[in-house]
């Protein structure tokens, strides 16, 4: 009874939706496991217009439909169109698919609602008011993990030629956002020893997560084989077991997935593929997801993390702390059990902080935030906190004030014995993170694409590596014996160690300036100065044998106040940042464009993306040139830049309206003239000769 009621409600809802005249909704097929409907972005396209229609596919819970290449089994869709005269339709465009491994068989599927988009074009001479009946006869395969059903349905949608418009553009923008974007440059492939190797142009600085190559061309690679993805400069290299036709085929088409819903369409021609570079993904054969993390992989990752952690010890921000901690061992006169206790506590501190940071990172990732290693450094308040901490540590090293046990900065880290060692370790690991960025990015990037357990092993390994030299000193008496004898030189050494620490503070100040601008940076420096003065005062009272807390309290208050005063958000998100050195550009916006044109200013608009190598080459080779900047300045050319890195739908639509499906696109609007589309390969000469 309840079921029947629910059914009735559904039918009612459908009827209501139809009656309410949702843009272009037509027939809904209900008996299939994948419900389909034909939707148009406008109900009244104008003559000569090109507009988008969608076949909306809505699988029932637990069911999936297939990508244009279904993978090892399954079947691709087929839609046959019946269109009236004067109406043409383009190829269907499929969204970025997902992988689904069932019983060891690779399927390329969609599990939630998805839409196949196509562009319909009306002839110029079609009369307004003419009915445009769109009909398609479709066949598709619907499967659960268990069963497959070949389904079919007839799709119909009736439009009428009118004045154009885009009533359903929000819905369509969401669908467009899940389409792959054309890469723009051609990839190359070769077959070597049964391995298909594909070189894909992809800028070294562009971000990528969990890369995977979906081949649209059948029989060129083993679908269920693991893919090894590495980066070698501006090239991404995919390596996977080859199949049947790979050695003889002249062209491979496919899709490189670079994020959850981001993909790049590409075509590869036979050619030379450079050697593999830094590995960013290396999946074992995908029998089931859990098997990705073979014990060998885990051990390898752990080994890499430990070595990486050891390297961190010589970073300028860590070395002073570690070396002084080590010397304190020598000072202690080599009591073996005390040294071991110290070392274990230090290790515990380091490893726990690394695991904590790792866990926080994974949690952020799981909740969908685009966090990377050292994610905490994206918050200017954290940078300022580190800046003040590092300044205090540096001043301590420089001898401005003393702590009960000389090891580093911070009250807790200064405590005697095991507790002090624990906090020294925690401090070292925490301060180490800003230094890890450039060195560990690739390895830690890999940590984010493996299962969480393995990722935590990597983070733990990193901490263990960081603590390893100290552990070695504690457990190998021979090493301890080789430490230099304590003496007055230690004091001088300590003062020297303040230099790298001050340099770290300088670097943090620079980061703060990048994030918050001159004001934020000045605030940070002022806070650091306040802390320094307070500590200086505290130090002089210390020498005189007086209490130290009177100056410390205001210093702490300065620090806290500064933390509140500094803006919590960065000036601009890194993705939207317009590169300095390139032209003085504003973010692209259609309203701004019309405004500038109304003012009669010439406008140069360009569209780029971080993953687009042609774009980057043009920016470096032509747009960043001084003569181009001078020419533009002399002629008062306004520059607008559209960043399509994340597939902004408004930019996507603008590109489409200029007949492009991807970037780069360079447009020049001379005052009062139609825009001129410039070639995809720009030269400084071409830009300086633009009319104005």
């Amino acid at each position: 009874m309840r079921f029947l009621f629910a059914r009735l409600l559904t039918v009612l809802a459908v009827l209501l939706a139809l009656g309410a005249g949702q843009p272009g909704f037509a027939q809904v097929t209900t008996e299939n496991a994948i419900k389909t409907a034909l939707v148009a972005e406008t109900r009244a396209p104008a003559p000569g217009d090109s507009f988008t229609i969608a076949i909306r596919m809505r699988p029932d819970q637990g069911w999936h439909g297939y990508w244009l290449n279904p993978g090892e089994a399954g079947l691709s869709d087929s839609f046959e169109w019946t269109l009236p005269e004067g109406v043409t339709i383009g190829e269907l465009r499929y969204p970025v698919p997902e992988r689904l491994v069932i019983g060891g068989i690779m399927n390329y599927v969609y599990e939630g609602e998805y839409a196949l988009l196509a562009d319909v074009t009306l002839a110029e001479d079609i009369a307004p008011g003419t009915a445009v009946p769109l009909r398609a006869s479709g066949q598709w395969l619907a499967c659960t993990d268990e069963i497959c059903v070949p389904e079919s349905g007839d799709l119909a949608l009736d439009l009428r030629v009118g004045s154009g418009g885009a009533e359903a553009s929000e819905q369509f923008d969401a669908w467009r956002a899940s389409l792959p974007r054309p890469l723009g440059s051609e990839a190359r492939f070769e077959v070597a020893d049964g391995t298909l190797r594909i070189a894909i142009p992809f800028p070294a600085e562009a971000g990528i997560a969990a890369p995977y190559f979906f081949s649209a061309t059948d029989r060129v690679l083993d679908y269920s084989a693991g893919q090894r993805v590495s980066r070698n400069g501006d090239t991404l290299i995919v390596e996977v077991a080859a199949a049947g036709d790979a050695a003889t085929i002249g062209r491979i088409e496919g899709l490189l997935k670079i994020g959850d819903h981001d993909g790049l369409l590409l075509t590869a021609a036979p050619g030379d593929v450079p050697a593999a570079g830094t590995v960013i993904a290396d999946a074992q054969r995908l029998d089931s997801p859990a098997m990705n993390a073979g014990i060998g992989t885990i051990l390898l990752a752990l080994g890499g993390a430990i070595v990486g952690g050891m390297l961190l010890n010589i970073m300028p921000c860590v070395f002073p702390i570690l070396s002084l901690k080590a010397l304190s061992l020598a000072k202690a006169g080599g009591s073996a059990s005390g040294a071991r206790q110290d070392a274990l506590a230090y290790t515990a501190g380091v490893v726990l902080v690394c695991l904590g940071l790792g866990a926080a990172l994974l949690t952020l990732r799981a909740s969908g935030a685009a966090a990377g290693w050292a994610f905490q450094l994206q918050d200017p308040r954290m940078i300022l906190f580190l800046l003040l901490l590092v300044t205090a540590v540096a001043l301590n090293l420089a001898g401005l004030f003393e702590l009960p046990s000389l090891v580093g900065g911070g009250r807790l880290a200064g405590r005697d014995g095991a507790t002090g060692s624990f906090f020294t370790g925690a401090l070292a690991a925490f301060i180490a993170t800003p230094c890890t960025g450039p060195f560990m990015a690739a390895a830690l990037g890999a940590a984010l694409v493996v299962p969480p357990v393995v990722a935590m092993v990597i983070f733990g390994g990193l901490g263990l590596g960081l603590a390893l030299p100290f552990l070695a000193l504690a457990y190998v008496p021979a090493l301890r014996d080789r430490l230099p004898k304590p003496g007055p030189w230690m004091e001088r050494f300590r003062h020297l160690m303040a230099i790298p620490m001050f340099l770290t503070a300088l670097a943090l100040g620079w980061v703060l300036g990048r994030q918050t601008g001159v004001n934020g940076m000045t605030l940070g420096i002022a806070a650091a100065l306040g802390i320094a003065l307070a500590l200086w005062w505290a130090g002089s009272r210390q020498v005189a044998g007086k209490r130290v807390w009177p100056p410390i309290v205001p210093a702490a208050m300065i620090a806290v106040a500064a933390l509140f005063a500094v803006p919590g958000d960065m000036l601009s998100a890194p993705g939207n940042e317009v590169e300095a050195g390139v032209l003085d550009a504003e973010p692209f916006d259609e309203a701004r464009l019309s405004e500038l044109r109304a003012e009669g200013r010439p406008v140069f608009a360009y569209f780029t993306a971080d993953w687009c190598i042609t774009c980057k080459a043009n920016e470096a080779g032509a747009l960043a040139r001084a003569d181009v900047a001078e020419h533009f300045a002399a002629h008062d050319v306004a520059v607008l830049v559209g960043d399509w890195t994340t597939g902004d739908a408004r930019i996507g639509r603008f590109l489409e309206s200029h007949g492009r499906t991807g970037v780069p696109l360079y447009l020049y609007y001379a005052p009062g003239e139609e825009p001129e589309i410039l070639p995809q390969i720009l030269t400084p000469g071409r830009l300086t000769s633009l009319p104005s």
């Binding site: 069963i147 497959c148 029989r219």
Partner: protein, 189 residues
Amino acid sequence: MAPAAAAVEVGQRMPDFRLTNSSGEIVQLSDFAGRTVVLEWNNPGCPFVQRHYGSGNMQALQREARADGVVWLTINSGAPGRQGFMRGPAANGFVSRENASPSHYLLDPRGVVGRAYGATATPEMFVIDGSRVLRYNGAIDDAPRARESETRSANSYVRAALADLDAGRAVRTRETRPYGCSVKYSDAS
């Protein structure tokens, strides 16, 4: 941990195997040395398989082949609990109900043979010559989306391969993409 699809290639000598048939007897591939063998991957619950049986297309192909002395082995690699899994009596029931005439209906519930041969779909067909060399692998015909009534008129790759072998010619279409349902292998193996 076994790979889903071993890389088998047309022109390669295929591994021997031994399976239990629906009557409980052991059947070994090498028993048929010197004869052409057709392997048909089967899952009675798969709509694509049902289409070929429902139209009588599969049975007709089986009869033709066997009349020419070809050995026809229908293999079910469905795992217990998954769609199409059958024990001996149920498989015998399927054969008699469908009026099918394979030489044997073989049970591969652990998917060992299916995986070794790289079978991914039902129906997927293999044609093996007298020296156990793979001559054809792929779909049964060129009409994955055909309706039942059209199935008989489709271009049968298996029939063509058998004719080529019979005439001592090289098989013209050696490999195609199989279509249908995925083989319902066990997840753990």
